[in-house]
């Protein structure tokens, strides 16, 4: 099976300061598989995600090949790229709370997006969204769509973004720390939704996370980044059991000690399984 997404020699730099943010990233995401991206804060995970969508700030330049289905995204016009965004590749953001236009109800964003890609009217869009929202455990979807973002919780907004993905059915979903801003219970629920999302859409996924427990549950392959460089990549099992790189072992071991600590605090009960 051909690789679904192939990134070759991606270099990203800040034009104004000349600072190089990503040095020379190459990686692949197979069809229907999930690649997790881990690494410390500032290692370039978000910049990588945005580079694939060509959504970095205008003063940030990028070079290299980004092949989606063998098509080089770097050569697409702005308009062609815009048609791909949302429909073919979809980004789920970290901060649900600030991802929606604060001056209108969340439904407006959903209707406009669906109108853009499918030409649906408000009624049709609302119908499709309702079904999708119910399936991610958002009860009373019509009411939720008539609420302003600040009236909803981070977890709900995160699930609205997931529901929109269910309707858009993209081939690639990029999720940039979708659970970091949530409390533990919502984190768990959103993770469940991600597992189902993969199952239902059969899409490829890039999943950025700090949470190695989640990565282990969701991802097929893992990519470890540090200071804008990919230090290690491989299958999830190999990363967790036989990491070659010092830094990866460090990440895995700190996770382990945290987990052990958590287990001892919780009295060694089954909670700490993840």
């Amino acid at each position: 099976m051909p690789n679904f997404l192939e990134v070759n020699h991606l270099k990203v730099w800040d034009k104004s300061s000349g600072e190089v943010i990503l040095h020379d990233s190459s990686f692949k995401v197979n069809a229907e598989s999930c690649l997790a991206v881990v690494g410390e804060s500032g290692s370039g995970k978000s910049v990588t995600c945005r580079a694939i969508m060509r959504l970095n700030k205008p003063w940030v330049s990028q070079s290299g090949e980004i092949l989606l289905h063998g098509e080089n995204l770097s050569f697409l016009s702005d308009k062609e790229m815009r048609q791909k965004r949302g429909k073919t590749m979809y980004l789920i953001m970290q901060h649900g709370m600030s991802a929606f236009d604060p001056s209108t109800v969340v439904g407006v964003h959903l209707y406009e997006t669906l109108k853009q890609h499918f030409g649906w009217n408000k009624h049709e869009a609302a119908g499709h969204m309702s079904i999708a929202m119910k399936s991610v455990m958002l009860k009373e979807p019509m009411e939720i769509m008539n609420k302003y973002p600040h009236q909803l919780s981070g977890g709900m907004l995160q699930r609205i973004m997931i529901a929109l993905a269910l309707v858009l059915e993209p081939d690639l979903i990029i999720a940039d720390e979708p659970t970091t801003a949530l409390d533990t219970i919502s984190q768990y629920e959103v993770l469940e939704q991600f597992l189902q999302l993969r199952e239902r859409l059969g899409c490829s996924m890039i999943f950025v996370s700090h949470d190695l427990g989640m990565v282990r549950k969701l991802a097929d392959e893992v990519l470890v980044m540090k200071n804008g460089v990919i230090v290690e990549q491989g299958s999830t099992e190999s990363i967790f059991t036989a990491a070659k790189h010092e830094y990866t072992r460090y990440l895995v071991s700190t996770k382990q000690t945290l987990n052990d600590h958590f287990k001892s605090v919780m009295g060694g009960q089954g909670v700490a399984k993840r």
Binding site: M53, R85, G86, A99, E112, H117
Partner: protein, 310 residues
């Protein structure tokens, strides 16, 4: 929403009471005796003790302070601000037409200011750092730095004297508006378009812009969203601009001989016409409070978060 509006409106009432009281107090703190001013204005040659006492009685100045305030306030509510010390005419009959003229000038200017600032703010934000942005900001810096009387003088010289296109002064036809409106609008628009510009730029970096783009929404829709969010800041600024212009047309009105509040207030202050000054201050302060209330209401209509705050 209606609840918010009513609450917001009720809050402004005590504010107006306080303002009216302060106006009254401040005027009466003046070292000049109003009775003396009246007599001087009427051209009485020798001011005797008896005459003073008599005038004070006529003006009700022998009453205790609080009673005088209450009487004044009660009549103010009926738009009766007393008689001018100088001409003896009712203050309102002098103030009303002047107020109306200034309001006309202010409204036309405010409209131009809003249009100019939004257009320039949006264009500069979308072209940030490019030639257009730099040019507009450069020119605006130059123009806003120039005092309005200098700008007025240049415009009068150019358009009225040299080219003989526009009237130099007065308020006779629509074309009389052009120069004063330009002078007012240019100096304010130069400030306000920056507010819109920087607010647009701040919003440009918000997550919802990224998410909108990531969902493939076209740029014009995203710009619209950004503008709607940026206008929240601008609305309150614009609404406050109206009373500020109302109170600061003095220079322009005097330059263009505009028969408005600005000209009237200068005259009244020079002749120490207390009832006129009092009424002028009260009318302006009321305009301030009213526009502030309106701007809060408009803001609440655009920004749902504010509504819940009160």
């Amino acid at each position: 929403m209606y609840k918010y509006m009513i609450k917001r409106f009720l809050i402004s009432i005590p504010l107006l009471l306080i303002i009216s009281f302060l106006t009254f107090v401040l005027i009466h703190l003046s070292p000049l005796d109003p009775a003396e001013v009246v007599l001087q204005a009427q051209g009485v040659p020798v001011i005797t003790e008896e005459l003073m006492v008599q005038t004070k009685q006529e003006l009700g100045l022998d009453q205790p302070f609080l009673i005088r305030y209450l009487a004044w306030f009660a009549s103010c509510l009926q738009l009766d601000f007393g008689d001018s010390y100088v001409t003896g005419q009712p203050v309102w009959s002098l103030l009303a037409p002047a107020f109306l003229n200034t309001v006309k000038l202010t409204m036309v200017s405010a409209l131009l200011i809003i249009v100019l600032s939004i257009v320039l703010g949006v264009v500069c934000a979308l072209r940030e750092g490019k030639m257009t942005d730099k040019t507009v900001r450069g020119i605006s810096f130059f123009v806003t730095a120039m005092p309005s009387y200098a700008l007025a003088a240049i415009l009068i010289w150019l358009f009225s004297v040299k080219l003989d296109l526009l009237p130099t002064s007065g308020m006779n036809s629509l074309s009389s508006y052009i120069l004063p409106v330009i002078v007012i609008a240019v100096s304010y628009a130069g400030l306000y378009f920056r507010i819109i510009r920087s607010s647009m730029l701040n919003n440009l970096n918000e997550n919802y812009v990224m998410y909108g783009r990531a969902c493939g929404l076209p740029e014009h829709k995203i710009t619209k969203t950004i503008l709607r969010n940026s206008l929240q800041v601008a609305v309150s600024v614009f609404c406050m601009a109206v009373p500020i212009i109302l109170g600061s047309t003095v220079v322009v009105e005097n330059m263009f001989a505009w028969p408005g509040l600005g000209s009237l207030s200068v005259k009244s202050i020079l002749s120490r016409d207390f009832p006129m000054i009092q009424a002028y201050v009260l009318v302006l302060a009321t305009a301030f409070v009213l526009f502030n209330t309106v701007s809060d209401m408009i803001n609440a209509a655009i920004n749902p978060k504010l509504r819940e705050g009160l």
